[in-house]
Amino acid sequence: MSDFFDRLIDEIVHSAPAPSSHATLTPVVAGMRRVRFTRPRPGRRLLVGVALLCLPGTLGGLALAGTFGGQRISPQQWVDGQRVQPEVAVTSAQSAHLGILRRPRVASDALLPADAFSVTHTPMAANGVNPSLSRRVEGFASGAAWVIPGNGMVCLMASNAQGLAMVSERLPPGSAMPRRIARVPGANGAAGCATDSNASKGWSAGTGGTSESPGMIFTAGIVPDGVSSVTVRLASGGSLSLPVHENIYMAEIHGWPSSVSFTGPTGIVTIGNGPDVLAHHARSAASRQAVTAASVASPVSVAKRSERVPVGLHNTKLETMLIVSFRARAPVTSGSSEYRVLMSCGADTIGGAVTSGVRPGQLVHHASPVGNCRGTLHATVLYTHGGHPNGGAVANHRRGQTLTVGTRAITIR
């Protein structure tokens, strides 16, 4: 069988003589809808790392939340410096029921640098995620989704068009790393990891909402081979059908998707999407009574971690990351609540949010690159609850209740 180099020369010498052709063909490497040039520049990577963590109700929080189940090491072990061996190849357990992981990997399957940074430089790395095994889902007209194998885990990162635009944002040539990038209004998405077994059976990566699109909820998940559509049941009643492309369903829908069903190889499967948050919202007045500053207060710790990141073309340097950790006393199970981590940096603030999948008693970690911040930084962890689920807690501080979990200062020289 000929290899890439044989096929390439064959294509070159047999190409049409079109010296003045304006044909708009795709690049030579198959499937290159759009090649993101992954120059290993630390500024950009750190920048997008922050961007991910700052995406309200979307990638950052869910990505972190997705690291707490089934991993070979715990997020705390990751914070403590232990490293899980990234998966070196797609395993049969991962690919047996997921065709997307059986097809050849092409250039366009590469993760955006933002996402590649996120999965390897946050506690999500505890899953042994290997960006070089990623597959980008083909078929969706808007937004983008990647399936990324990990060590016994399968991860999904999905975002709508605005979310994709946000993490795709580039720095002007030669510019220094800003501490964060501009938010694209409406940026929304979901991300997380499931065990190989759960991913093969069907799994929801969760939901996300934004203030700019009230009432619109982003949802995405993995289904096994042979499933061409899923049925989403809305909390408000009724249902709708979503198409599946390469084992993934993904859509921004009007209303809360309380469950997702499909007919798989073993029959009808229903995936829960968390509790019915509309019902939760109806109970929020009562729950608000129960949640107090004292009941959510928890010691906050901040650890510095030096991560070796690429510099220039083939050098690396150590970059400082701050890992903010705290024990969650109150849960985050829907868009009506969240933990927000803020870090003062002069007159500015950096940070992000954890917006899904936090259980009471769970140790939560949040990673932020320090960037250019120096001096004494004050980390503050806030808990917001009781916001309207459509739009997420981030947008609803006015209506929800925000409580301080704890603070901690750290000096960066």
Partner: protein, 193 residues
């Protein structure tokens, strides 16, 4: 009809002349002779083997565009032309955020699938190929040493001077001469498409 194997003894310039006359096999010989060194150059500079393959494809497509344009002179040293073109494409790609594809569009090329085995092979070729040996066939040893250190490995002049046990001025001169030689050989290095 001559096979690529039968053409193996001809020099690069002669082969490109034959390719311009319509003998595709001659271009294939040049390609097979030099793609490993271009690939080795690229894989050391990009994070993803897929991108190195993409840049490699664009580099050779650019050479083929040049070969098929009778108004443009052929490069005297194709390997130098290829390396400098690859370097220019690399820099352009950094600036643009995506790999240039102008030459492939002009050739109306179809996509070529990259299989998992190809990615492995790219890594193997990168490991096996010595860029220095290739340059050594064109330049004096001291110039190869200085050029590799400064241009290809991007080390700073004081470091190179320390390693080569000479002054910075000498290093600068050697790099300058090597580049001038390659530029002279490469003819249109800046106008690769």
């Amino acid at each position: 009809m001559s096979t690529p194997q039968a053409l193996g003894g001809a020099d690069d310039e002669e082969l490109l002349g034959q390719a311009r006359a319509g003998r595709a096999q001659s271009f294939e010989v040049v390609y097979r002779r030099h793609y490993p060194v271009v690939l080795a150059f690229l894989t050391k500079r990009v994070a993803e083997p897929e991108l190195a393959a993409d840049l490699l494809a664009e580099t050779f497509a650019a050479l083929f565009v040049l070969v098929r344009d009778p108004r443009r002179p052929l490069p005297e040293s194709p390997v130098a032309w290829l390396l400098l073109t690859a370097r220019h494409l690399l820099i352009d790609s950094y600036r643009r955020g995506q790999v240039e594809s102008a030459a492939r569009r002009r050739l109306a090329m179809r996509p070529v699938i990259l299989e998992d085995a190809d990615l492995v092979r790219i890594g193997e070729i990168s490991e096996e190929t010595s860029l220095v040996e290739e340059l050594a066939s064109q330049l004096p040893p001291e110039q190869v040493q200085a050029l590799c250190a400064r241009v290809l490995d991007e080390r700073d002049y004081p470091t190179i001077a320390s390693e080569l046990r000479c002054s910075e001025a000498v290093v600068r001169k050697r790099v300058s001469r090597a580049l001038r030689t390659l530029r002279r050989n490469a003819l249109e290095a800046n106008n690769h498409v």
